[in-house]
Symmetry: C2
Subunit: 257 residues, 2 copies
C-alpha cells in the first residue's frame, strides 16, 4: 500500500537540528524526502534564484533511511527543484521547519521557512510551516515535535481550504505549561530597524541590522497573544495579497488623468 | 515651503534604466532621494540580510541634483537603511521601480521591487511599485512614466488606506492604444517550474530555472485581464497574510490531540 509522500524543507539549512526534529515528528506518517538549502537562508523571504544555475547534491545517510538532498538555492528554489527534478511529481504534503525562531506576526513575510510553505501552496500541495520561539541551536524541540505531529495528522485527516496553508508557531515552554493549539490571525507588528555602525580596518563604515520587535495590538485572537499565553498558534495564510477591502475606496478616485 | 520627501527604490539596481525613468517621472512632485541595490536583485522577494553587514555608498551626480545611494543589500534592506541611516526619518512617499518586467498576479510575491514597497507600507509610508511588462533593458518607458506620475499624484492627493500599498503594472503598448488605469485584484496564476539540466566541464550537473507562466482565471476584474486589454492595472496590496476566510473552517477541527 502506498504511503503519502511528505516533502520536508526549511530555511536554516539541511544541517540544522530543527529539520532533523521535523523529520522525526512526521516519519511515521508517510515516506519522507528532505530537500533543503546547503547553508542557512534565514530571512530569505520568497527569494528565487534568477540568472545563476543551481546544483543538487544527494546526502546519503544524513537522515537514516530517508532520501535527502541539499541544493545551492533558496528555500523556495528547494520546493521548485523538489517537484520538478527530484520527486518528479507533487508530494502529498509539504512540511517546512522546524524553524529556529518565531515566524509569528509580521515575521511570516521575511521567513524563508514560511516562503517554502507558501510556494508549496502555490503548487497546490497541502503545506505547513513550523517554528519554535527559540533561536538557540540547541533548543529543546520536544513540544514542537508533538505539535508538528498533531498538526500534520490534522491536515492529513481534514485537508486545507484551497490556496491556503498553515503557519504554526510553538511557544518556548515545556510540555507541562502547554495549553494546546489555537487558531488565530497574524498580529499587527513591525520591526523597528536599527543599524549598528562599525568601522572596518580600512576606515570604511559598515552596518549590522539589529532591530526591535514592536507589537502593535494585543487582541486575544492573534498569534502573539496565543504564544504569550502558552498556546501553539495556527494561522491560515494566503498568497492572494490583494487588499480586497481597499478596492471600493480606490474606485472612488478620479482616474481620468 | 518644504516639499514632500520621495524615496525611490528598485530591485534591478541603481544603474537600471527603469529607476532613472521613475526619478524623471516624480522629480517635479517633491525632493527625491534614491536608495537602491548596487546590482540586480530581481526575484529577491522579501529577503533581508541577516548575519552579514551592509555598506552604503553615496553616488554623486548619478541622478543629477538628486541625492543617491547604492547599498550592498536587498531591496528591503535598502528601505530599512534609507529610513534609519540615510534619511533619518520616514519619507512622505516611497516609489519603487520602474521594474523591467511584469509584477502582476503571482509575480508580486517573488518581486524585490514590490517587496521594497511592501516594506515601505509596513513602515507606515504611502508606497507604490511600478512595473512595465517588458523585460528588455532598452524598453520604452514613456507610457510607464506617465502612469507613474499620475498614480503618484493620486496617492498624494487622496492617500492610501492604512496597511495597504499599490502594485501598478503598465502594459507594453504605445500611448495611442492605452485605455487608462483600472483598479483590480491579483489574478490567480502560477509558474510551472521547469529546470534545464546542463553538464559542466567537470561532468557535474547543474540546473537553470526557466518556467512557464500559467494563468488560472480570466475574470475581467483581474490585473492580467486589465493588462491584456491595454489598461494599466492598479492592485491594492496588503501584508496581513491571514486567510481570514479559513479561520471558521479550522475552528471546526478537533484540536484536542
Amino acid at each position: 500500500m502506498s504511503q503519502p509522500l511528505i516533502l520536508v524543507c526549511n530555511d536554516d539549512g539541511i544541517h540544522a537540528p530543527g529539520i532533523r526534529a521535523l523529520v522525526e515528528a512526521v516519519e511515521h506518517l508517510g515516506d519522507v524526502v528532505v530537500v533543503a538549502p546547503d547553508r542557512p537562508q534565514s530571512g530569505m523571504g520568497h527569494a528565487v534564484t534568477i540568472g545563476e544555475p543551481l546544483r543538487i547534491h544527494q546526502k546519503t545517510g544524513l537522515f537514516g533511511r530517508h532520501q535527502a538532498y541539499e541544493t545551492t538555492g533558496t528555500p523556495v528554489d528547494c520546493v521548485k527543484l523538489a517537484v520538478d527534478r527530484i520527486l518528479h511529481r507533487k508530494p502529498d504534503l509539504l512540511v517546512s521547519g522546524i524553524n529556529h525562531g518565531s515566524n509569528s506576526s509580521i515575521n511570516v513575510i521575511y521567513s524563508g521557512t514560511m516562503s517554502a510553505a507558501v510556494e508549496g501552496a502555490i503548487e497546490g500541495i497541502p503545506s505547513v510551516g513550523f517554528s519554535l520561539c527559540n533561536y538557540a541551536l540547541d533548543a529543546d524541540f520536544t513540544l514542537a515535535q508533538q505539535v508538528a505531529t498533531q498538526v500534520t495528522q490534522l491536515i492529513m485527516a481534514n485537508g486545507l481550504m484551497p490556496n491556503t496553508l498553515l503557519n504554526v508557531n510553538i511557544p518556548n515552554i515545556t510540555g507541562n505549561d502547554y495549553k494546546g493549539l489555537k487558531i488565530c490571525r497574524q498580529s499587527a507588528a513591525k520591526w523597528k530597524e536599527n543599524f549598528e555602525e562599525r568601522t572596518d580596518p580600512y576606515r570604511k563604515k559598515y552596518y549590522w541590522m539589529v532591530g526591535e520587535f514592536h507589537l502593535l495590538e494585543h487582541s486575544t485572537d492573534t498569534d502573539e497573544w496565543a504564544l504569550a499565553n502558552h498556546f501553539a498558534s495556527v494561522v491560515p495564510v494566503q498568497f492572494d495579497l490583494t487588499a480586497h477591502h481597499a478596492i471600493p475606496y480606490l474606485n472612488q478616485w478620479n482616474l481620468e488623468g
